[in-house]
């Protein structure tokens, strides 16, 4: 199996603060890997470092067999951040945001062609938002905005999807919609690396789970079964997100009471 992401003895952080201390991780083609951990454990930092958004202090990262520093085939990676970053008030339609996902493939100098428009429509169909293509993203619900971001990543037809807590604070309908989109992506041979606060409807899709605690990998293996009140079928787990102090993701992972960044 060809290596998609390979992280060796990675330390990373901002402003001299080490958030990741010693992490090694290998993701091969076709894997679906969930990174779990409490708030502040460094799980988001891990994927952000892999993508080059957080500086590496020590250790190595390879993407598709190329050292990250020299990696240029960014069109092979689709990144889904936690939040839509548009808050300035200049409106943008769903279609315009998703079209940004084509830039890695198209380059800065070429105008959008037919193939680009088709890819945008296809990606929006995959997340069930094609009817909203001309609506301003600000009028969408949180879950629909999250699906817009997934469509943006899918529009670039990547080989690897990297998602940062895609189901944090998202309604059940949207969770189901993108669980479907991710299942199809994985079914077509795509590789997925995602940070999760809880497995939720994505549980059947996850092949391997990695638990990050205190900047290190505390556990790696098949995903844990839901336990405690998380296991109840009608358990609604809609976190307001971040700030609040809450118990760790699963019973056997340590609790982290602080948010590191």
């Amino acid at each position: 199996m060809s290596s998609v992401v390979e992280v060796q003895n990675l330390a990373a952080g901002y402003d001299g603060r080490e958030i990741l201390r010693d992490v090694s991780l290998k993701v091969t083609a076709g894997d679906v890997v969930a990174v779990l951990g409490a708030n502040g454990s460094g799980k988001s930092t891990l994927i952000r470092t892999i993508l080059g958004l957080v500086p590496t202090l020590r250790g190595g990262i390879e993407l598709f067999g190329t050292p990250q520093r020299r990696f240029r085939q960014w069109e092979r990676i689709g990144y889904v951040p936690q939040r839509l970053g548009a808050g300035s008030g200049v409106p943008a339609t769903v279609g315009e945001v998703v079209a940004s996902g084509r830039l890695a493939r198209r380059g800065v100098f070429r105008f959008p062609a037919k193939a680009d428009k088709a890819a945008v429509r296809e990606a929006l169909t995959a997340v069930g938002l094609l009817d909203r293509i001309d609506d301003p993203v600000a009028t969408l619900s949180g879950g629909q905005q999250q699906r817009t971001l997934i469509a943006r990543a899918l529009a670039g037809k990547p080989d690897l999807l990297v998602l940062d807590e895609p189901n944090a604070g998202v309604d059940a309908a949207s969770q189901e919609a993108f669980a479907g989109a991710l299942t199809r992506f994985a079914g077509d041979g795509g590789t997925i690396l995602l940070v999760l606060h809880e497995l939720g409807p994505l549980r059947p899709l996850i092949g391997r789970a990695v638990v990050v605690h205190d900047g290190r990998i505390a556990h790696e293996g098949t995903p844990p079964e839901p336990a405690g009140h998380h296991a109840e079928p009608d358990h609604e787990h809609l976190h307001p997100h971040a700030e609040e102090i809450k118990p760790a993701i699963c019973e056997w992972a340590p609790t982290e009471q602080t948010k590191a960044y």
Partner: protein, 288 residues
Amino acid sequence: MELLAIPFMQRALVAALIIGLAAPALGIYLVQRRLSLIGDGIGHVALTGVGVGLLTNTSPVLTAVLVSIVGAVGVELIRERGRTSGDLALALLFYGGIAGGVLLVGLSDDSSTSLMQYLFGSLLTTSAEDLWVIGGLGAAVVAAMLVFRPALFALCNDEEYAKVSGLPVRTLNILLAVTTALTVTIAMRTVGLLLVSALMVVPVAAAQQVTRGFRSTMTLAMLIGVGAAGAGVLVSAEADTAPGATTVLLALAIFVGTAVGGSTVRRLRRRRGDSPVTSEPPDVVLHA
């Protein structure tokens, strides 16, 4: 409209129309990344450049261009490195620029009237040569902002995503910074700092009250910019008011109009029950 038969009026009108078209095309990106006041900030830095020019007996426009480019790129690098807010970086730019300008102009032989001339410009003294420079600048700005729209939109909308897409993020940021510096400094001597920096922002603010997408906002903002600039020059000639200030006040009046109109239309739509907002409230907080 016999005023339009006078050559200096024609030149003033053309210069204002060009800035009215080009300034919002650039300004929409600045508004999108919450740097609405950068035009004004760079204008203040340009005053330091004017002071350098007067003091060293070189062309004040040339030194203003150079100093403001340094200032704009500097702010961009500060913003990129430290997570200093754009707001704070702008404040430093403002105060440093105006203080440097006043200090240096005071040291030179020229009186402070030359400083005022650069601050407010004088549209009616636009020469044919000025017009060529402004025309060239306007064409370059509009072309760059339209050609790079998808990339600049992605950058201003979500800089981290743009980085992961492999876009030349720093180059695009510097392109925006340098274009802003060039536009402000070249236009300020003729149309004035007030007019050029206001036309970067106010038409965008007016347009986004009634538009749904980025492209339509940009188009409408450019139309509003041209309309306000043209009307501003004509009205100011008839009413004998300052053309720059008249243009800015007209653009603000358009903003008030679209803001009121836009919210009325949205309220009516909601009452008719075809609101685009679905029953579920947005639970993700948008932030820059």
